[in-house]
């Protein structure tokens, strides 16, 4: 039993990291008022680019960087449509998802089903790494896991404690007031969606380069949508997103463990948990006045100065 729990906890961070990365990317977009439904496709593209570059002999870090840049590149038309031309964000996001999913399938055919060396786990902490149950979870993970957690903390600090973070939040909450205070609304949105797309692309690249060390079409398998739910679940807070990602990633990691142990579990029903929990959180948020304010007030809407 201890061994199984150790293995489960040890595998959990690897499931958590891509969800958290993608959620942080989305969180940044949404804090600036941009709803990005392209996330599933952008992750797929990042995964494909990461794999293709790994197969081309790039180092795992360079390959993941390329995946992140791929995410940014494919998002550019979306950004122009939504931020400059004020296109409806929902349809534009779905179009981005289609373009990126299709492009990853079309461009990645040569990279499909070919294993490559991926990211190594770090081993650190000396004797601590031998701790029972939690040693592996805490001290034997790859660097992306640790960096992602640090990033979540930094993002929370940046959003809540810096002037630029304050301005970004103002853009998503009330662009008219932000504009009146001299904030360049479109510039902040561009920046947020660009960095967000990089993170979402990176999340995808981590799936192939850091996780499975192989790329197949459809390997993102709904994780983008889970990340979208995760942002709501975390009520747009990077710190709460860590908790949500641990929960959702832990559930995802649990299922193969249970199967390996020969436990008969309704795998698919268990997998519904993140979605069902998120709907529950949405209902609770709607019932609580304080929590309802968590959603950026201008999310998904188009602002022009005339509205000021």
């Amino acid at each position: 039993m201890t061994i199984a729990v150790t293995a489960w906890l040890g595998a959990m961070p690897g499931f958590m990291a891509p969800l958290l990365l993608a959620a942080l990317g989305l969180l940044l977009c949404e804090r600036a008022g941009v709803l990005n439904l392209g996330v599933e496709g952008v992750m797929a593209l990042g995964a494909m680019v990461g794999a293709a570059m790994s197969l081309a002999g790039w180092s795992p870090w360079a390959a993941m960087g390329a995946g992140a840049l791929g995410g940014l590149a494919v998002s550019l038309p979306f950004m122009v449509a939504v931020i400059v031309f004020r296109a409806p964000q929902i349809s534009a996001g779905l179009a981005l998802a289609a373009i990126a999913l299709g492009a990853s399938a079309a461009l990645g055919r040569g990279a499909s089903h070919k294993p490559f060396p991926g990211l190594e786990n770090m081993t650190w902490g000396g004797d601590w790494a031998a701790l029972p149950v939690v040693g592996r979870m805490l001290f034997q993970q790859d660097a992306v896991v640790y960096l992602t957690l640090i990033l979540a903390g930094l993002m929370a600090l940046w959003l809540m404690r810096t002037r630029a973070g304050l301005r970004l939040r103002a853009v998503g909450e009330d662009p008219a007031t932000a504009d009146a205070s001299g904030v360049d609304v479109q510039l902040y949105q561009f920046g947020a969606v660009a960095v967000g797309s990089l993170l979402i692309g990176l999340a995808g690249a981590y799936l192939s380069v850091g996780g499975s060390n192989i790329w197949t079409e459809g390997m993102v398998a709904g994780r983008g949508w889970i990340a979208l739910a995760l942002v709501v679940f975390a009520q747009w807070s990077p710190i709460r997103a860590i908790g949500g990602a641990v929960l959702f990633g832990g559930a995802e990691a649990l299922i193969p463990r249970l199967q390996a142990m020969g436990v008969e579990v309704p795998v698919y029903l268990l997998s519904m948990l993140p979605y069902a929990l998120t709907i529950g959180v949405l209902v609770l948020m709607a019932l609580s006045k304080r929590a309802r304010q968590a959603e950026p007030g201008f999310l998904g809407r188009a602002y022009i100065r005339q509205d000021r």
């Binding site: 296109a87 534009a92 998802a97 079309a106 479109q186 519904m272 019932l287 005339q306």
Partner: protein
């Protein structure tokens, strides 16, 4: 960044500008899509043959296109009926899967005797409507965004589909996650023209009923007001809540029927691949038809043709089917960006004057 340019909302764009922006955006989207196809390795000379002749002008190709367009018409109705009331249905696939599951349940458990086939269709509609119900209730009661809820419900539906295919609905004689094959009495009639089946008649009837209801009944009249200005609808005494509920549930029912028509009309069993991408297809077709039911068959055939062509491009030129998805995405992005022209007016401020 764009200090010297200011935007104003237009009070109105005339029909000429409206039509021009639509046609212009569509032309741009199609041109970019063709460029993508050429870049992917399709010879320029083959484009017309593959995209027009093979899918619309040859009887066999047209049959494939019409077969594929059948559930797409339902999917587009599911998007349009909701969108006319500004309700974003991002979970058409979920409703479709529930429809397919309910229809399959009626077939597998041999319910309904001689009325089994009609019952399957009714069950499909009920399943789809029930699956969209939580999102519309949460929206009207608590103001929860339907975008996220329909999306989440869709993911839950997919997991339910797999749960059933690997369990109660699985075919024990077969290693793949599919249901047993339906009996003849559980299949929609075919016309001896490819796989084209009675589903297409159902779809055209649904389109006609939707067009008539929206265009020539008091309900449809009220829906125009509720969709455009709920406050004015309220002041005029139209039942805004009821209109929204009925329209959205009808949308869900149409998505469910798409699932019913796929399992009973072409697949004859439930599989994991049923109705994939229908949310996106439905929204693209609804956008092309500008949420007008009467235009849906035309654009469903257009999008179906693109998909059928994609399948043959894969065989002949080794082009991935992903390219079709890219093309549809490009067209949709061009269309929604094109609304800029009709919604806003650009003014260039002269510097130095305030």
């Amino acid at each position: 960044m764009l200090e010297s340019v200011t935007l104003e909302r237009r009070s109105g764009a005339g029909p000429v500008l409206n039509a021009a922006s639509f046609v212009g955006a569509l032309a741009l989207g199609v041109a970019l899509s063709l460029a993508v196809l050429v870049a992917a390795g399709v010879p320029t000379k083959a484009l017309f043959e593959e995209l027009v002749v093979q899918v619309f002008l040859s009887p066999a190709g047209l049959a494939r296109t019409v077969t594929m367009a059948t559930p797409m018409m339902f999917g587009a109705l599911a998007a349009a009926l909701c969108l006319r009331l500004k309700f974003w249905n991002i979970g058409i696939e979920g409703q479709l899967w529930l429809g397919a599951i309910c229809a399959t349940a009626v077939a597998l458990y041999d319910i309904g005797g001689p009325l089994r086939l009609p019952l399957m269709m009714v069950a499909a509609m009920v399943g789809g409507a029930l699956w969209i119900l939580p999102s519309v209730l949460l929206k009207t009661w608590l103001g929860v965004s339907e975008v996220i809820v329909t999306l989440l419900m869709s993911n839950i539906a997919y997991l339910l589909l797999q749960h059933l295919l690997f369990g109660a609905f699985g075919d024990p004689t077969f290693n793949f996650p599919t249901s047993p094959v339906f009996d003849d009495a559980e299949r929609l009639a075919r016309f001896g023209w490819g796989d084209v089946n009675a589903g297409v008649a159902l779809a055209l009837v649904a389109v006609a009923v939707a067009a008539l209801t929206l265009g020539a009944t008091r309900f449809g009249f009220a829906a125009r007001f509720v969709g455009d200005n709920p406050r004015a609808a309220l002041a005029l005494g139209f039942p805004a809540l009821r209109v929204l509920l009925v329209s959205v549930l009808a949308g869900g029912a149409m998505a469910g029927l798409a699932g019913g028509v796929i399992v009973a009309g072409t697949e004859f069993r439930l599989t994991q691949a049923v109705g994939l991408n229908m949310t996106f297809n439905g929204i693209v077709i609804a956008a092309l038809a500008r949420n007008t039911p009467a235009w849906i068959p035309v654009w469903a055939v257009f999008i179906a043709g693109l998909n059928v062509a994609g399948a043959s491009l894969k065989v002949f030129y080794g082009v991935s089917e992903g390219i079709v998805l890219v093309a549809q995405g490009v067209i949709l992005l061009a269309l929604v960006t094109g609304t800029f022209v009709t919604t806003y007016r650009v003014r260039f401020a002269r510097r130095g004057l305030a």
